[in-house]
């Protein structure tokens, strides 16, 4: 940065130029950026005797703020393949949507059910090409003609094939539950219990994970997406009086618009006529 024409070789040790710049900016009143966008999540998957069970928490965070208390982290890839995503929410959504449509086109082209390894290769090639800048850490699970499969995919493009897997900031808490409780040949109910315990341990012990538990059970020819399977964090202490205006304000008109539509289905009714 110096104006001298002679090249000065760099001195060893630390360089504090940016600290001086930060001090100068702070004196001028510029706020330093607040905490990084910590991507918190607990996502898990395990293989049981009939297929694969995936689980996820439902908290989305922006720094210290929970921006979505009930988001969906288990993404659809194919009728027999689902993918949990941890990391930057935009990256996981975009990459799973993109590969999901590529799989759909491939199904039209081949006329066959999609295989988990196809989704795996498409995802890993994409993530490797972006050298880790697409911050998506995924747990991919599904059942196809070759059997049940569970894979983890890391942001740099490496993959692992495992009988049980956890990812996200709560992965250590969830992995401790799996390591003590997992065994081969679990039944569906045992598997769901262990998955729920693992996600709960992430929800209660990791600050980046919270709210509810989503579970997805994939077996041959059948899938069950159990959205909000468990709600361990209900909203308690709701004020029974509701909202009241301060005394001096006169209410002129009350109009209540329900946010959820109520649709009434009438059985029978007249047949349609031309």
């Amino acid at each position: 940065m110096s104006n001298s024409g002679i090249d000065v070789p760099p001195k060893g040790g630390f360089s504090f130029d940016l600290c001086r710049r930060n001090d100068m900016l702070a004196k001028k009143g510029v706020q330093p950026p607040s905490s990084f966008r910590k991507t918190g999540t607990t996502i898990v998957g395990l293989v049981f005797q009939d297929g694969v069970i995936l689980g996820a928490d439902t908290r989305a965070t922006e720094g210290p703020i929970v921006c979505d208390k009930n988001c969906e982290k288990i993404h659809y890839m194919a009728p027999n393949i689902y993918c949990c995503g941890a990391g930057t929410a935009a990256d996981t959504e975009a990459v799973t949507d993109m590969v999901s449509s590529q799989l759909q086109l491939h199904r039209y082209h081949t006329g066959r059910e999609s295989r988990v390894v196809t989704a795996l290769t498409l995802l890993k090639k994409h993530l490797f090409n972006y050298q880790g800048h697409v911050q998506a850490a995924l747990v991919l699970g599904g059942v196809d003609v070759t059997g049940p499969h569970l894979h983890t995919i890391y942001p740099h493009g490496s993959t692992d094939t495992l009988p049980f897997a956890t990812m996200g900031s709560g992965s250590l808490a969830a992995m401790s539950v799996f390591e003590s409780k997992y065994r081969e040949g679990l039944t569906r109910d045992e598997g769901i219990t262990i998955v729920v315990e693992a996600i709960c341990s992430g929800i209660f012990n990791d600050l980046g994970s919270g709210s509810n538990v989503d579970v997805c059970v994939l077996t041959k020819g059948h899938k069950e997406y159990l959205r909000n399977h468990l709600l361990p964090n209900p909203r308690t202490f709701v004020n029974p009086k509701g909202f009241t205006f301060p005394k001096k304000i006169e209410v002129l008109l009350t109009k209540i618009t329900p946010l959820k539509e109520k649709v009434e289905v009438i059985e029978g009714g007249d047949a349609m006529e031309e």
Partner: protein, 233 residues
């Protein structure tokens, strides 16, 4: 120490390839680490390239997986075009071409080993940078630093299949004892004219190499132990 779960996965590793009379034995540990967290304690670092050629991977997990995927694809085409199984030399050279041309972007050390009818069992080491070197035995990964002296002393020409496999298992377990980035189980692959055999040695069956430390029950035992005799000149 901060747990950086978004650090790239590296396989701080121990990988070994050894020739014997009749074929080769490849061996590896099974630990994949992200910083200080073990992301996969049972990974398989010995990957198949063709029916008769396997590669041991070390370094960045993503880079080594991609290189072995590309080489498997090229070798498959090559086998179809050639009309007979690919040789170990061709497989190793394909790996070398990818590693050398992309040396600025890749961080992976590989050991290619296999058996073909022209040259028999061969081991080729392809370290960082992309040199190719044909060796009677090759070691790689972070744990290999602890094995150079061991191999200088223990390796010999013309071993039998069982001797070679025992040597590989012993060497990997020695490296696991000293290298924090290696651990888990020991996997071996034996390739010869008859085919390929995969073996698995679980971590609790391996020797620990801690026999020289006597367990001490309490400080009192140490204090009461008699002091050594004064030296006499």
């Amino acid at each position: 120490m901060d747990l950086d779960l978004s650090a790239p996965h590296s396989m701080g590793t121990t990988i070994i390839g050894v020739t014997y009379n009749g074929g080769v034995v490849l061996g590896a540990d099974s630990r994949t680490s992200t910083g200080v967290y073990v992301a996969n304690r049972a990974s398989d670092k010995i990957t198949q390239l063709t029916d008769n050629v396997y590669v041991c991977r070390s370094g960045s997990a993503a880079d080594s997986q991609i290189v072995s995927d590309y080489v498997r694809y090229f070798l498959h085409q090559h086998t179809i075009q050639l009309g007979q199984p690919a040789t170990v030399k061709v497989s190793a050279n394909l790996v070398r071409l990818l590693s050398y041309s992309n040396k600025n972007m890749l961080q992976t050390g590989l050991i290619v080993g296999g058996w073909d009818k022209y040259e028999g069992g061969k081991i080729y080491g392809i370290p960082l940078g992309g040199t190719i070197i044909e060796q009677p035995f090759a070691i790689g990964g972070s744990g290999s630093s602890y094995l150079y002296g061991f191999f200088d002393q223990a390796w010999k020409e013309g071993m039998t299949k069982d001797e070679a496999e025992q040597l590989v298992v012993k060497a990997v377990s020695l490296a696991i004892a000293r290298d924090g980035a290696s651990g888990g189980v020991v996997r071996t692959v034996i390739i010869n004219s008859e085919g390929v055999t995969r073996n698995f040695y679980p971590g609790d069956k391996l020797p620990l190499w801690h026999e020289e430390l006597e367990p001490q029950n309490s400080l009192l035992d140490i204090l009461n132990a008699s002091s050594p005799e004064p030296m006499n000149i």
